[in-house]
Symmetry: C2
């Protein structure tokens, strides 16, 4: 195993063992490099890899810190995966999102506080106002859509579940879906589904919430142009070996 990979694993292990705790500051580069017996450049590459995994975070002029390590943070690199597969794999990501969001919405029905239900209602009204305008601002609709869903799923009582859902539809896909709704009727139908979910939450009815949430995501899936394409497994040319 290469020197860099060894360094990455060493730092990882220090975290797993509790030797490095969330928020803690690491020794300065020169010192840590000496301690690991590697050059500073090499250590920097290891640190850069851990930064990409959201495990470490650097602040120029200050130091290198362990992040909060919260599931939401560590899992949010996944959205990039969804973005890369925006073409062929969008349906597969949405299917996973449908499964999870149905469950999370049901869980949220008995957990979301009243004041957040009020916020949800406001989001809905704003979206409906936007959709009624002569010139539809798709960018704002996408943002409101994301706020609506993440506010619900964040109250499912499971941070991992919420984080995975959040990342199962990257920004690119979400934007593409709304941009694809050239038909005003499609926008109206989508907002109607949102309202149905909202009503189920107001009624504190998990089963209604689950079904409406599933129905909503399914509607999105079926609106995808390449919905029927059951292409599985990305085909890639093998590496020369």
């Amino acid at each position: 195993m290469g020197v860099i990979e060894t360094a990455i694993d060493t730092i990882k292990q220090m975290i797993v063992d509790g030797e490095l705790r969330p928020g803690q500051k690491l020794p300065i580069e020169k010192e840590l490099a000496d301690q690991l017996g590697i050059a500073r450049n090499t250590l920097r590459e290891a640190v850069r890899a851990l930064i990409a995994m959201r495990v470490l975070q650097t602040r120029q002029g200050d130091g290198t810190y362990v992040t909060s390590l919260s599931p939401a943070l560590l899992l949010d690199g996944m959205s990039f995966v969804a973005d890369i597969h925006q073409h062929a794999g969008a349906g597969e990501f949405l299917h996973v999102r449908r499964i999870l969001e149905a469950e999370a919405t049901a869980l949220a029905a008995v957990r979301i506080p009243d004041e957040h239900l009020v916020v949800l209602g406001n989001l809905l009204e704003e979206a409906e106002r936007l959709a009624a305008a002569p010139e539809i601002d798709h960018g704002k609709l996408v943002a409101l859509d994301q706020d609506f869903h993440s506010l619900i799923t964040s109250h499912c009582g499971n941070a991992v579940l919420a984080a995975v859902i959040q990342n199962m539809s990257g920004r690119t896909i979400r934007a593409r879906i709304w941009r694809g709704m050239t038909d005003p009727q499609a926008v109206q139908r989508t907002l109607g589904e949102h309202r149905a979910v909202y009503q189920a939450l107001l009624a504190r009815d998990p089963e209604r919430a689950r079904i409406h949430a599933a129905m909503h995501v399914l509607g999105v899936e079926e609106s995808l142009p390449d919905f029927a394409s059951g292409s599985l497994g990305t085909t890639a040319p093998p590496l020369p070996s």
Copy 2:
């Protein structure tokens, strides 16, 4: 935004735009660094970050290549997240796994080929033989357990779903669960659940498969010592700001 982050995004974008395709070889470091107007060391840090995301892959003496970019590959960094939260968050990961595995098993019931059902049966028999031995080899049981589940979920028809499930219980958690089964009866019960899932698949009955799969993961969840701890949201000291 720093020079390195810019370089990372540039390379990412080249991939999203199709300028770089899976399996393709990148220009040599010196050349690519010049092309991006950065130093070779700096480029290496960007490449190292993309390696950590499983987007790139380097082979000393050969070159740097774009990976297959398959969801299974890109999502497999998630298992590290599960490993870090082996203590407090194991239950949350298992809950997600339960939701997804129930669905995936149901889907697999009508998709898995007959010859793989035979393999499943063999895995089961081998596990039961191991469990009957006077000295139980937990390591092999963990491996068989993983093979059993991944063989099923890999036939759900959705590569993303299979990959997410695969990573929702990292090796550490899985090992801890089986190691925790000091009670021979617990091992037997778990294997019995496996067999129930297997029978449902043999019968090509999605609903039976779904329920038995959910029951199985739930059994694992409830066997966790800290099952009742509903601790949500990792608490971390804020960064100095």
